[in-house]
């Protein structure tokens, strides 16, 4: 996964872009399978020799996020963390890419002979395995990974409204809060018990009820979306932004004042059901369904509404229905993500779902790119990793991240990977080169 963060800051300088070009040339023939395999091997390596290696080079613990946090705290340890990253991550991945390309390409080609979903499932399984191995080193990584995946869901669902449909909605934290509280309400009251009474159902049933609780959270969020959509979707533009912002504050103060949900103190004690595989499965489901939607002709109607609503109407598209459904759909996924969020942290607090959350979600969205599923994934992962890695800088973090955002906006006004289709076929297919390119590529490297 760390590969994607390499995109984070597009630098305009010539020399840099030349280096970048040769790097991407070198990796051009690596299929997704190769990357996943590389990460898998690197993670295994870290599991096996990570700790002894860290000790040997003078770090008192294995770096959790590529050592950036350690290097920022004590700059003297920078060489050691670099060495660690080199040995554990960079060298194994480069080696895999360098030597296993033919194998992974052939494997990817072979997988595509089956229906697409077989290949997709295999990729997802391996990806999960890699993620599981990588996070097994520390609980902190597990938490970061879970929050990252939840961020992907939220960013993606906001992209459906703000990117694909071109409206400007600010109420996503509100939808998250609705989902978080509704799902928590179900799980806590049914399985944990509260001051209203003991648990009603045995906890062993929980994992089966948990998806239902999440979906319920999503539906409640959709219901909230309906309240925003009715008054604001008759007009276009700023009205939705204002009304949705108001909605966010209303939801926040609603939960601050609901005493049976803990009020401003927050609501805790959620059961620990949002494990890594659960969050992973929901994230994949979310990506799959949203991608299906935006690629269908029905989903293209969103783009038509954005680019020219009058023409969309004249071409038989029911624009009002399209806008309504899309808004509810996006709110649903924000609600599901909120439910997962509550069960990952096992505590929610109305203050979480305020302006700062909104700013974060918008930052991830515009950082990654509008109208692009890949963009949202990259944006959410990039932003979260960056934000975690820069944590030791404390206040300066909030100077550096906005600066980066401004840079992205300057050079890529619509985000890093905007207006690009998430084509599963293209992503999974082998990157078998024409022979000429291969020859050209091999010579400088060897």
């Amino acid at each position: 996964m760390e590969v994607t963060t390499g995109h984070s800051s597009p630098t305009p300088r010539k020399g840099f872009s030349r280096i970048w070009n040769s790097i991407s040339q070198f990796f051009a023939q690596t299929p997704l399978l190769g990357w996943i395999l590389g990460i898998l091997i690197a993670s295994t390596l870290e599991l096996l020799i990570g700790f002894p290696l860290a000790r040997a080079i003078g770090l008192n613990k294995a770096p959790v996020l590529f050592g950036v946090d350690i290097a920022l705290k004590t700059p003297l340890l920078l060489p050691a963390t670099l060495l660690y990253d080199l040995v554990i991550y960079i060298i194994p991945i480069v080696l895999v890419v360098r030597f296993l390309n033919p194998l992974t390409n052939r494997l990817a080609a072979w997988l595509l002979r089956f229906p697409m979903w077989v290949s997709a499932l295999v990729h997802m399984g391996l990806l999960y395995l890699a993620l599981d191995l990588w996070t097994s080193v520390s609980d902190y990584r597990v938490l970061v990974a879970k929050l990252m995946m939840i961020a992907i869901m939220i960013t993606l669902s906001l992209n459906v409204v703000n990117g694909f449909m071109g409206e400007f909605s600010c109420s996503h934290p509100g939808f998250m809060a609705l989902g978080a509280y509704s799902a928590s309400l179900v799980t806590v009251f049914l399985f944990i018990g509260s001051n209203f009474g003991p648990a009603i159902l045995p906890e062993s049933l929980g994992p089966f009820i948990f998806p239902i609780a999440l979906i319920l959270g999503g539906l409640v969020a959709s219901l909230g979306a309906l309240l925003v959509a009715f008054p604001s979707f008759r007009t276009r533009g700023d009205y939705l932004a204002i009304i949705s912002l108001a909605f966010m504050f209303i939801v926040k103060s609603l939960f601050e004042n609901l005493e049976f949900l803990g009020g401003a103190r927050g609501f805790g004690n959620q059961p620990n059901w949002a494990s890594l595989p659960v969050v992973f499965i929901w994230t994949m489901l979310c990506i799959w369904i949203i991608n299906n939607f935006v690629q269908s002709t029905m989903g293209k109607a969103l783009n038509a509404v954005r680019d020219n609503e009058l023409a969309a109407d004249a071409m038989t598209v029911d624009t009002r229905k399209t806008k309504m459904i899309t808004f509810l759909f996006a709110a649903f996924w924000a609600g599901v993500a909120g439910g997962l969020f509550a069960h990952v942290l096992r505590y929610v607090n109305p203050g979480t779902f305020g302006l700062q959350k909104l700013a974060e979600v918008l930052a991830m969205l515009y950082f990654g790119g509008l109208n692009s599923v890949t963009g949202s994934i990259v944006g959410a992962i990039g932003y979260n990793l960056l934000s975690e890695m820069l944590r030791p800088l404390e206040l300066f973090k909030w100077i550096i991240i906005p600066l980066l955002l401004i840079l992205v906006m300057l050079y890529r006004p619509t985000g890093l990977i905007a207006f690009k289709e998430f084509d599963l076929q293209k992503i999974l297919q082998p990157k078998t080169p024409q022979t000429k390119v291969e020859v050209k590529n091999v010579t400088p490297a060897s």
């Binding site: 002709t297 109607a301 680019d307 023409a311 969309a312 109407d313 071409m315 038989t316 029911d318 624009t319």
Partner: protein, 256 residues
Amino acid sequence: MSLLQVNKMTHYFGGLRAVYNYNLSINPGEIHGLIGPNGAGKTTIFNLITGIYTPSEGDILLDGQSIKGMRPHRIAAAGLARTFQNLRLWRHMTVLEHVKLARYSKLDYGLVGAFFNTPKRTRQEAQTTAIAMELLDLVGISHLADTVVTNLPYGAQRRVEMARALAIEPKVLFLDEPTAGMNPEEMLQMIEIVRHVHRQLNLAIFLIEHRMRLVMDLSQHIQTLVFGEVVAEGLPEEVQNNPLVIDAYLGKEVET
């Protein structure tokens, strides 16, 4: 009973009378021209019939059914397709996506299909793609199917609008100045396309045009609109020589 019939349609924008007492009747397979100086209300008439505005008075019947007051997408689905005077394309979408989207009302895989990529959806999308490619062939731009529209030359963009309108399978096709801004060569090609489409699909066409030659060439029946009122109506030759029309277009001679 004619295919499209407009009875005594009148429309006010506030106190301004934009269209007054407008009548129209188009039969299947007929090309009907609407001419008039700038600001006469031609496009307003299009917008009224296609449901962007609801007429203040009068009635509009398509196949004997009143479509007055229906929402534009319903009217379009009922069989009135149009192109726009100033192109209204979706700037981030490809040519093929434009034509496919105009089949929106014909797709019935619903939200389940949209979310879960069901076999029904796969089938319908494939069918739609095939139909769209045929239409692109008809207007001669199938080789540009995967190009984003903003990268196309003007003439090709006009053709995209045409193919998109045809994808609705209209009963009546409304063309709002289909050759506006075109050079003579592009214009001739456009005339050819309109003729071809008309012959191929035996479409009724309602045409707004500024260029007299084109209207006279294509239409079987012409109306002249001045300040929202029809001042002359009839066969092309009749209208062409009507003094009122000449007045409207060239102005009156000042008597000295």
